[in-house]
Amino acid sequence: MTADRVGALADWDDLDERGMSKRLAGYFGHSLHIRHIDVGSCNACESEVLALSNPYYNLHRLGLFFTHSPRHADVLLVTGALTAAMAPVLRETYDAMPRPRLVVAVGVCALHGGVFANSSRFMGPVDSVLPVDAYIPGCPPNPYALLNGLRQAILSREGVKLK
């Protein structure tokens, strides 16, 4: 590794396809279902989230799946700047999810507001409304960052046992 290479990369051997399934088995029953909610996005983040399920990134190999109902979901993936109209909907979606539940905030808009931070209809970052387990910066974050964010969220629940 040369000196001009910034932001060191190191291999993770803690999480491959079988390792992920083993970790998930302890507290989510071998697979993790993701509910994606758009609370006011420009659709750049949606484009990256959709790329996760194509044959190249293929998040299903890790035991991660998208679901259409929050009642079936373990992870709430929030994209976009939280608008006044979507704030109660986000709350309802979160309340409908069974425990244990994780929240992953995706993109600058969900984390801070970014270019929409001064808008009158912007209700604040997602972590002011819900407890967020992983933060993914970027405008938009690339699919690798999304996979890393989901990994961080799963690792944050290690040792937490289901009742």
């Binding site: 290479r5 910034v6 932001g7 060191a8 990369l9 190191a10 291999d11 993770w12 051997d13 999480l15 491959d16 396809e17 992920m20 044959p55 190249y56 990134y57 293929n58 190999r61 890790l62 600058v108 984390l111 801070h112 507001g113 970014g114 270019v115 931070a117 970052p125 972590d127 967020v132 387990d133 992983a134 933060y135 993914i136 910066p137 970027g138 405008c139 974050p141 690339n142 690798y144 960052a145 999304l146 996979l147 890393n148 964010g149 990994r151 961080q152 969220a153 690792l155 944050s156």
Partner: protein
């Protein structure tokens, strides 16, 4: 017909990324970038070129333990790259790891204390 497809499939090998396992091998294939990092301390905090250039106020000059410091909050960073281009010191750089994600909000904020040239 099926033999042609079978051979084509065997020849192309695995197309799906092996990302979480072989992170070091997967990521450097891409010349894209996510958010910048601060890789060296700022030598002239009076210039504030970065804070002026930042469109979302992700970069601010703050007081840290009685000294001026550059604060970068990547939660607000839209990766426009103006700080990387305009900083005369080269404080900001594109990191090699394009998969940045953190488990806490505090870890998205980095602060670099200003240093003088004579140390």
């Amino acid at each position: 017909m099926w033999a042609k497809w079978l051979l084509a499939g065997l020849a192309s090998g695995r197309v799906t990324t092996t990302y979480p396992r072989h992170r070091e091998r997967e990521l450097p294939k891409y010349r894209v970038h996510s958010v910048p990092v601060m890789n060296r301390p700022c030598s002239d905090f009076g210039c504030a070129e970065c804070a002026e250039a930042c469109p979302t106020d992700a970069i601010t000059i703050v007081q840290e333990r009685g000294r001026d410091a550059v604060r970068l909050d990547v939660a607000a960073c839209i990766a426009c790259g103006r700080c990387v281009d305009r900083c005369p010191d080269g404080v900001f750089a594109w990191p090699e790891a394009i998969d940045r994600a953190e488990a806490s909000r505090e870890r998205l904020i980095s602060t670099e204390e200003a240093t003088t040239h004579d140390g």
